[in-house]
């Protein structure tokens, strides 16, 4: 195909999309009015499927297929980050050193951590009743786990966090959403149709598949955020390129080691004790 023909094909496509868009915009309800045809229908459908939070009904029932795409995007982007931020051949790991954290901060973190985790589970479980859902609750729970890094140190976080298990959980959450959708196919209707009993309005079991889809998303998002942050933390704290001497002050045994991790707690860089890095470009404007 010559460039000229290609341009013509493109022009046809653009013209078609433009015509369809123009027709659609022409028939749209007026902007800023008191009547919201789409909103009214969405709320009606939400109440029909006994979901108290209409947004959850839109996300996980009326447009559950869109949400499938969205969570596939998150899954794919985390996968991409894992590949891009992996440890390459000219990089090696140094053991993070313990960080000095004030006692009250550490105690606060150890008490707050379970509270944050449970709040995350609460937000996931009540997505169909109150604001929240799988995405929000998953992020809350994953953030709670990282209190161990910000208020204790990276070694403590690594002790309780098995990246391998979280990778599996990420995939399991994604697969769970896909498999829940096939329930509709088994019942003889469309993919991701809400086929379970709808339950009583306003209770935890209401909405059929909506809470289950929320739970699958919650697992996937929490695990995805943990895996994502694990790559970022590894790169920022543990992985150094050969020749790069961690964050040690210059002048102390500058011979770069080539390959192989350094002995634990030995000459590794101190976590949280970066060398001075002032930029001198402070201030707004």
């Amino acid at each position: 195909m010559s460039p000229r023909t290609r341009l013509w094909v493109l022009a046809c496509g653009v013209a078609g999309v433009a015509a369809l868009l123009a027709v659609t915009v022409w028939r749209l309800p007026p902007f800023g009015g008191a009547r919201h045809p789409y909103g009214e229908r969405a709320v009606e459908a939400a109440l029909a499927s006994r979901v108290a939070n209409a947004v959850a009904s839109v996300n996980f029932d009326q447009r559950a297929f869109d949400t499938l795409g969205e969570q596939a995007i998150l899954f794919g982007s985390v996968l991409g980050t894992v590949v891009v931020l992996r440890q390459t051949r000219d990089e090696r790991r140094v053991e993070p050193e313990p960080a000095g954290v004030a006692g009250p901060v550490r105690r606060y973190a150890l008490i707050a951590l379970p509270v944050v985790l449970l709040t995350g589970v609460y937000v996931v479980a009540h997505g169909q009743l109150s604001p929240g859902g799988g995405f929000q609750g998953g992020v809350v729970a994953a953030t709670g786990l990282h209190l161990l890094y910000v208020a204790v140190d990276y070694r403590a976080l690594k002790r309780v966090r098995s990246v391998h298990l979280f990778t599996l959980a990420d995939a399991a959450g994604e697969a769970g959403y896909l498999l829940l959708g096939t329930g509709g196919l088994l019942a003889g209707t469309a993919y991701l149709t809400d086929v379970l009993p709808l339950g009583t309005f306003g209770t935890l079991a209401s909405g059929g598949t909506v809470p289950l889809l929320n739970a699958a998303i919650g697992v996937e998002v929490a695990a995805a955020v943990v895996v994502l942050l694990a790559r970022f933390l590894d790169q920022a704290i543990e992985i150094v390129t050969s020749g790069e001497e961690g964050d040690r002050a210059p002048g102390t045994d500058g011979a770069p080691g080539t390959g192989g991790a350094r002995p634990a707690g030995g000459t590794g860089r101190a976590d949280g004790a970066d060398g001075p890095h002032r930029t001198g470009r402070g201030g707004a404007g």
Binding site: P131, V139, T241
Partner: protein
């Protein structure tokens, strides 16, 4: 008068957004970005979109600053070691 909370939240978002753009240093910018996230959450709440506000709070409060600051730390460490190699 009923629109006053919306107007004020919009004002706060406008101020925080301008400040975030005007701050050049990524470290200081991440702080302003945190405040901008909170302002956006307020705006979504007064516009009666609490689900979106909750997403904004969950992502913007701790996750975004953590990722920005970890990236800054990695980049600066690399730049510093490269500078050191040039000096040697």
């Amino acid at each position: 008068m009923d629109e006053l909370p919306v107007a004020l939240a919009l004002l706060l978002v406008a101020c925080a957004g301008t400040a975030a753009v005007a701050t050049r240093d990524p470290v200081r910018q991440s702080l302003v970005l945190g405040v901008l996230g909170l302002a956006l959450a307020l705006l979504f709440t007064v516009l009666q979109a609490p689900d979106v506000a909750l997403s904004q709070l969950a992502v913007g409060t701790a996750l975004t600053p953590l990722m920005v600051l970890l990236s800054v730390r990695k980049v600066r460490r690399k730049a510093r070691s490269e500078r050191r190699e040039e000096h040697e």
